[in-house]
Symmetry: C2
């Protein structure tokens, strides 16, 4: 299976603790790296995780709260010091460029590369990135300011060729692409060899959904239906549900209910409030509703 | 002895490594905390060091390079989340406010306290802070932009009263302050008791000097003459002296020579380039010239 791996750089919330960095993650899709949120210290954690800066071309920012983007000036300046030349693309709600540009202009007198800003609308799901292997779609969330999550979907891939059958029927090379894409093969004698005898199905496309910060939303459960992995914020424990509602956050139980309703394969919870000494409490509460729940942790990597 | 203690939050330079945070320190003077530089992640390291945010009222920024101040937005926002009401004073070269204010205004819709900016001139040593127990004076440095170090000096303190002698001569309470400040005591019989019989000298005032980033300067050696502790950047090893000169930095050996010329009691080196896997190389080079050299390290605290 090709790489589709999530790395947790930080999973705390706004107040620093001795155990957590603020929010940042990296999704590794076949050695292309996609950063999701960039809290303070993200570049330090990135370095620790042994990921390669040169593989990072796109950063997705969920919303403009400091604990989700204060790591950008440092990261961008470091890439400049390293002499990067490739464009760096930042996808975020409207407003980031006007804040960030003067800071970058001052602190990086000579930029060796260009930062390209891609503001997105936060009201409707929208395709904001696409390449040969994946698409990224926004997931509208509901927080104290315009916020979106992100759905990373692998594109379906052509069937695998069964080499021994290809040899057996002496299929010419020029036919291979058609066969990968589902065509049957007709031998010089006119015999039709059905595609299913020549190929086996590719691995099913995988999907990862990231949702933070937000109230729990039924629309999210629908949009992330059946994903392989859902990261959902679980800032608070069940007993602090009123506080969660007041601050437009989610409890561990609410995240688990959403995961169950969405029929996702696994749930990863994070964005923990500083008030909990031990987040296993949150894990236990979530697992009672949705047993396939994991606890985020700095340095954790999860194969999607 | 009253507290005069230095805490290292970060001692790396601009490029992140797996071992170092960018520059930040806290000087604890009798439980008042003074932050010196505020690189990315300073608030996280501050929290780890178990220092109290509420004791921090003054931040001194040596120069406006990102690795010395990108931690400010996060720290200031955290203090706001914590509901701080006391003013926070930031002393720095000209230009910080215009960069920082729009960021803080956007990310902290309602500030619970005021940030007060105190720009200082970087050409001449200047007294920029004073309270009952200490003064802070700038140390002009030479880097790629306006930069100053800081000299923290305890004020001389009144002599200690010798309680048994005060009792013996039946000195009235109203005389005590005069005696602490050096006056003799005249008994009702007209006998003059000299001050030296009634008091012993207070602990000598202590001094801490912070110098980063800079070329090695003779003027610094003069200004820090005899300090108890000198922190001096030692970004490079001896073999990289040309690179140090080119980037306006100092080598470990140059820092040690400066410490020797300044007759300081102890030298602490830091601001290590990311190129060295093990900074003991820098320590060894410095110790050959100035044996009383220490290596900075995250989490280190040194009593001045």
């Amino acid at each position: 299976m090709e790489k589709f791996e999530l790395h947790i750089l930080g999973c705390g919330s706004a107040l620093p603790t001795t155990r957590h960095f603020p929010t940042s993650q990296v999704l590794n899709v076949r050695d292309k790296l996609f950063m999701i949120d960039c809290g303070e210290g993200a570049q330090l954690q990135f370095r620790k995780s042994k990921l390669k800066f040169s593989r990072l071309n796109h950063i997705f920012i969920s919303h403009l709260h400091g604990d989700h983007c204060f790591g950008l000036p440092g990261l961008i300046s470091t890439l400049n010091l390293l002499g990067r030349t490739a464009e760096l693309h930042i996808h975020s709600p409207q407003g980031l460029e006007v804040l960030l540009r003067p800071v970058l202009d001052f602190f990086n007198r000579q930029m060796t590369y260009q930062v390209v800003y891609h503001p997105f609308d936060t009201h409707q799901p929208a395709l904001i990135y696409e390449d040969r292997s994946i698409t990224v779609t926004t997931i509208p969330l509901r927080h104290r300011m315009p916020t979106c999550g992100f759905l990373f979907s692998e594109k379906p891939r052509p069937n695998h060729i069964l080499r021994e059958m290809i040899d057996f029927y002496q299929v010419p090379v020029c036919e291979l692409n058609r066969i990968k894409n589902g065509a049957d093969f007709v031998t010089p004698d006119g015999e039709v060899v059905s595609n299913s005898r020549l190929t086996c199905p590719a691995d099913p496309p995988r999907r990862y959904a990231y949702c933070s910060d937000t109230l729990p939303l039924a629309s999210v459960a629908r949009q992330v239906q059946g994903v392989d992995l859902l990261f959902h914020e679980a800032t608070f424990a069940d007993e602090d549900a009123p506080r969660a509602k007041e601050t437009f956050h989610t409890t561990a139980v609410q995240a688990a209910v959403l995961a169950r309703e969405g029929g996702v394969k696994r749930l990863l919870i994070g964005h923990f409030s500083a008030r909990y000494e031990d987040e296993n409490l949150l894990l236990e509460q979530a697992c009672e509703v949705f047993p396939a729940t994991l606890l985020a942790k700095e340095g954790l990597s999860v194969s999607v």
